[in-house]
Each structure stands twice: as structure tokens, then as C-alpha cells.
């Protein structure tokens, strides 16, 4: 308990005990009990006043003033509803747009993967510093199958290292033919991620043994519901992908769509790569970048240790190939993992954030204008307050409190609007994309980062539009304001001098 609270709580009892002692003393002196109590109270003086004065010692002046300012500010805003409404709306739109775009960027690039222990999952990419030729499918920063096996065999920092090829195009046969995108994944994919399918199972060791002979597939919840109408008996049945039949062994959880921004509809073992992509034998190609790597770090190992450990393996591989020189990029896995994609992210997001920021700035300028216009009307009130001694600092604080109230209301409204409407807007925008373009799935639900961003923006907004009008209004210019306002100030001088002290 704080010192303040402790002192105030003990006070009543202390005074009561004091009075009891005084009463007892009086009784000892021979006064009757009834009279003794009266005498004690008389000697003490005003009990309530004593308690008040003692409590006042501990009062937090700044808190009282803040509450006073807030109450006054609310009253002022209530009295000018048009101004309040216009200002709050402008701020809400400005902040809402920014919070919305930030939540989109957050969902794409900053959020961790939606799996258990996502802080331990890191993505590994390689950057080539030589000029040797390299076959690439998707991104150059990916790995070949033999490289993956090397890293998996030699590394001590991971409890599991998985590899997958994303964006695998397949035709889902049946009554209606449908194009789907899926993933070709290593056997330990579901195990390392900790994302065991909701129904059925993931991959077993036996599934990944024979090249081309393990026709098993795990499908996504979306595909199960969309294409197979949530058939409860789907497990064990066969589906046709690129003219080959696969047995459905598992259905993933509803919230899991793979680890890429574009959702994956199915997962098949790595050994089936040549089958699903006829004419492309990637597993045998030692010089092809096609596999993305994700590893789960062992508990207690830092990211730097991971980087150091993997760098050793990278240099070992480099030495086996004359002229080859690679370095690794390792960081906690988000939906945007590869260096090429991340490099594109920074300019795009800067442009977006600046553009939306300008919208907010425009809103602030508008509100500042509104406040400045209103400040001429309040000239008299402020001048009067200065006349009775309100310091400039106090006035500034009070005016800024009003601004913060406005920005907080606008910020709250804007954030709520953004977070409730952006999903719909996103879906609409996605629907407008040309048909073969797969829908991107981004989780834009608010998390801590978005809320902190919204709060910071709100505070900054309050200062930006509130400071100038507040400084303007609180300028010390008492006489002119009062005269213009129609009041005549008569200053009275007291006749006579003050009393002598001794």
C-alpha cells in the first residue's frame, strides 16, 4: 500500500486514541467521566478540520487539477456540439485510416505465425554473393533438397527443421474441376510447427519413404468446407490432384492456412514433388532454390547462437562447391519471410504509411483551424482567468486537456471503425483482383502492436492540432482582450497599510 494511503487510513484511529487518552487523563485528574470527554474534545478543537488538514497534506495537487481540467473540458465540448462533432469525425477518419493500414501491414509482416510457440520458429534464407548460376523456382533465397538435408543433419540448434515448397499449382479433379494452390512439405512439417490436423493425422515416416509412392494428402479446412461440404467421412477417401489420386489422411484446423500470405489448400509429402509437378524433378537438382526452411529453436538458445551455428554449416557447404559464397538470413518467422519480399516491403509500406499519415495531418490542420476560430470567442473567458491569476502553464494544460479529450474520442471512434470495417474492405479489394490471382489472407485482428500504434497516434494528434491554438489562446494579453470584449476593468487600491508584526 502506498505511504499516502497508509497515513490517511490510520488517521481516524490515531485521533480517536488521542481523545481517549486525554479523556483518561482528565478522569485521573478528578473530573467526572462525562465532563472529561467534553473537556478533551474542547481542548482538541475541530476534529473534522484536523482530519481534513491532515488529509490535505497528502493530496496530489496535479491529479486534482487534471480531474478539474477534464471535467471542465468535457463541459466546454458539450456546450459546442457542432465543433466537437466535426472535430471528432475528422480525427476519427484520419486515425482510423492509419490504424487500418497499420493493421494490414502488421498482419502481413510483423505478426508471428499462428502456431504454438511461434516465437521459437525462425525462417532461414540464403543470400548468394557469388556469380555462379543457380536454378530458381520461386525465390533464389530458397534451398535445394540436398542443402536442406545437410542443414537438418548437421545443425544442433533446432529441435526440428522443416522444408516446404509453396504455391504448388494443382487441378482438383472431380465433378467440377478447380484450380488450387498447395504445399509440398517435408515429413516433419506438422510436427515442427505443432499444428497437428484437426481430423485425421499429419505425415508419418512411412508416408515420406518411397519417391513417388506415397499418395497421401492433408487438406485445409477451407477446402474441406468449400469443396467437400464438410463431409465427415472424407478421411480415407481419395481426391484427384493433377490426375493422380491421393488419399485424404488429415484435415487441418480452421485457422491454419500455411505459412504464406496466400493460403494453402493442401499439403503433400516432399517425396511426391515430381508427381505433382510433372516434368520437374527438383529433389534431384542440387543447384535449385525451391524449398523454404523453417526451424524450431531449442529452448534456451538465442537467435545469435542459431545464426552462428548455421553459418558454420553454410561455409562447409560453400567449401564443397568452388567459388560459392553464401550468407544466411535468420529471423523469427512471420508471413513475410524471404529477404526479397522483405526488401520490397519497406518502400511499399513507407509510401502507404506516409500517404495515410498525410490524411491524418490534413485532419489535424482542419481541427486546428476549428479550434483557432473558436479561441477568438473564448478570448474573454481566458482573459478573465488570467486576470485572477491563472498562470500560462496552467492555462496551457487546461487547453491541451481539451485537445487530448477530442483526440482520444476521435482515436477511439476511428480505431473501432477501422477494425470493424477493414476486413470487409480487404475482402472487397481482393475480390476486385483479376481471377487467376489467388486471394491473400491476412489476419488484421487487433493485437498489442496495433493498439499501441493507435494510442501513440492519438496522443501525437492531440499535440499536433492542439498546441498552436493553445499557445495562441494563452498569450498574456489581458487588457486588450477585456476591452475588446466589452468589459471595463476597475482596479481598486486598498487604502491603509498592513498591520505591524511586533
Amino acid at each position: 500500500m502506498s505511504r499516502r494511503k497508509k497515513m490517511i487510513e490510520g488517521l481516524d484511529q490515531d485521533i480517536r486514541e488521542h481523545l481517549e487518552r486525554e479523556t483518561q487523563d482528565n478522569i485521573d485528574r478528578g473530573i467526572s467521566p462525562a465532563e472529561a470527554r467534553f473537556a478533551a474534545l474542547r481542548k482538541f478543537g475541530n476534529v473534522t478540520q484536523a482530519k481534513e488538514s491532515a488529509r490535505e497534506v497528502w493530496s496530489l495537487l496535479w491529479l486534482d487539477q487534471l480531474l478539474q481540467d477534464t471535467r471542465f473540458g468535457l463541459r466546454m465540448l458539450w456546450r459546442t456540439p457542432e465543433l466537437t462533432f466535426a472535430a471528432v469525425l475528422a480525427i476519427a477518419l484520419g486515425i482510423g485510416a492509419n490504424v487500418g493500414i497499420f493493421s494490414v501491414l502488421n498482419g502481413i509482416a510483423l505478426r508471428l505465425l499462428p502456431v504454438l510457440g511461434a516465437e521459437q520458429i525462425v525462417s532461414v534464407s540464403q543470400i548468394f554473393h557469388d556469380h555462379l548460376t543457380r536454378n530458381t523456382h520461386n525465390e533464389t533465397s530458397m534451398f535445394s533438397y540436398s542443402e536442406y538435408l545437410e542443414y537438418r543433419r548437421q545443425s544442433r540448434v533446432f529441435s526440428g527443421l522443416l522444408a516446404y515448397e509453396p504455391f504448388v499449382d494443382a487441378t482438383l479433379g472431380g465433378d467440377t474441376v478447380q484450380q488450387v494452390l498447395g504445399t509440398v512439405a517435408s515429413c516433419n512439417y506438422f510436427e515442427v510447427l505443432g499444428e497437428h490436423p484437426a481430423q485425421g493425422r499429419g505425415f508419418l515416416a512411412t508416408d515420406c519413404a518411397a519417391l513417388g509412392g506415397n499418395t497421401v494428402v492433408v487438406i485445409s479446412d477451407d477446402l474441406w468446407r468449400g469443396r467437400f461440404a464438410a463431409d465427415p467421412l472424407l478421411i480415407g477417401k481419395r481426391i484427384i490432384l493433377n490426375r493422380i489420386a491421393y488419399t485424404v489422411v488429415g484435415i487441418a484446423h480452421g485457422g491454419f492456412r500455411g505459412t504464406e500470405p496466400i493460403p494453402s489448400s493442401f499439403w503433400i509429402p516432399l517425396s511426391m514433388q515430381k508427381v505433382i509437378e510433372p516434368g520437374q524433378n527438383r529433389l534431384a537438382d542440387d543447384n535449385m532454390s525451391w524449398l523454404a526452411l523453417l526451424g524450431r529453436v531449442k529452448p534456451g538458445i538465442t537467435l545469435d547462437q542459431v545464426r552462428a551455428g548455421l553459418a558454420v554449416i553454410a561455409s562447409r557447404i560453400d567449401r564443397l562447391h568452388p567459388g560459392r559464397q553464401t550468407s544466411l538470413t535468420v529471423h523469427v518467422a512471420t508471413f513475410l519471410v524471404r529477404p526479397e519480399e522483405r526488401a520490397a516491403l519497406i518502400p511499399v509500406s513507407s509510401v502507404l504509411l506516409v500517404a495515410f499519415g498525410l490524411i491524418l495531418l490534413l485532419a489535424c490542420a482542419n481541427v486546428a483551424n476549428l479550434l483557432l476560430a473558436r479561441s477568438t470567442v473564448r478570448h474573454r473567458e481566458i482573459a478573465l482567468r488570467q486576470a485572477i491569476g491563472a498562470g500560462r502553464g496552467r492555462l496551457l494544460r487546461q487547453l491541451l486537456t481539451e485537445s487530448f479529450l477530442l483526440s482520444l474520442m476521435g482515436g477511439a471512434l476511428g480505431s473501432v471503425l477501422a477494425l470493424s470495417s477493414f476486413p470487409t474492405l480487404m475482402r472487397f479489394a481482393m475480390a476486385q483482383l483479376p481471377h487467376p490471382f489467388p486471394a491473400v489472407s491476412v489476419n488484421i485482428l487487433p493485437d498489442v502492436r496495433v493498439l499501441v500504434y493507435s494510442l501513440m497516434l492519438t496522443l501525437a494528434t492531440g499535440i499536433v492540432f492542439g498546441l498552436v491554438p493553445a499557445l495562441q489562446s494563452s498569450r498574456p494579453d489581458v487588457n486588450t482582450a477585456l476591452k475588446e470584449g466589452g468589459l471595463i476593468l476597475i482596479s481598486a487600491t486598498r487604502g491603509g497599510k498592513c498591520c505591524a508584526i511586533l
Binding site: 484536523a50 491532515a54 497534506v57
Partner: protein, 102 residues
């Protein structure tokens, strides 16, 4: 200052402080006992005295106030300021005395 000066004799509870001030001043200074508590709280806030639970002479619990090191220093400062003030006043009045004598 009076409270600090009283507490230099040792820790006391509130009631005892008022009694001590009256006693030591030969009843010249009558404390309005109610003003003691705000004063005590002011001194506590400035950390010139500290407070502790204890038992009084007749085995009842009470809060005992005692001087802190800071409080001791403050008492010295205030005592010397008071001394300077009374000394100055005395010097001013003394010529008046010698005037009236002669």
C-alpha cells in the same frame, strides 16, 4: 519546530507530544491539540520524522513518532535561525532598555 524539538528526547506518541510541549513550556504554550496531526503528517511527508507501531505505558497500542537523521538536521537549522531571530530582536530592544534605565 516545536514538535521536532520535543522528539529529540526520544520517540513519543501523539498525545505525549502535546503533553510534553505544555509541560516543558510551563503551560505558556497551549497547543490546540487538533493542529498536531496535520503538523505531524507534514513532518512525515518531508521525512523529518518517522512513525512506528508500538505499545504505550499502559499497554495500549499507539503510533510512535521519532526523529530521522534529516529531521535532526532540520531541527538544528531551525534552532539556529530562531536563535538569530531572537538575538536580533533582543539587540534592538536592549538600547531601548538602556534608554529607559537612564
Amino acid at each position: 519546530m516545536l514538535i521536532l524539538g520535543t522528539l529529540i528526547l526520544g520517540p513519543m506518541h501523539g498525545h505525549a507530544i502535546t503533553k510534553a510541549i505544555e509541560f516543558n513550556s510551563d503551560d505558556v504554550l497551549q497547543v490546540e491539540q487538533g493542529s498536531l496531526y496535520p503538523a505531524l503528517h507534514r513532518l512525515i511527508k518531508r521525512r523529518w520524522i518517522s512513525v512506528q507501531e508500538g505499545t504505550s505505558e499502559n499497554n495500549r497500542r499507539a503510533k510512535f513518532y521519532s526523529l530521522t537523521a534529516k529531521g535532526r538536521r532540520q531541527l538544528e537549522i531551525e534552532t539556529s535561525k530562531w536563535g538569530k531571530l531572537t538575538g536580533a530582536i533582543a539587540r534592538i530592544l536592549r538600547p531601548a532598555e538602556s534608554e529607559s534605565k537612564s
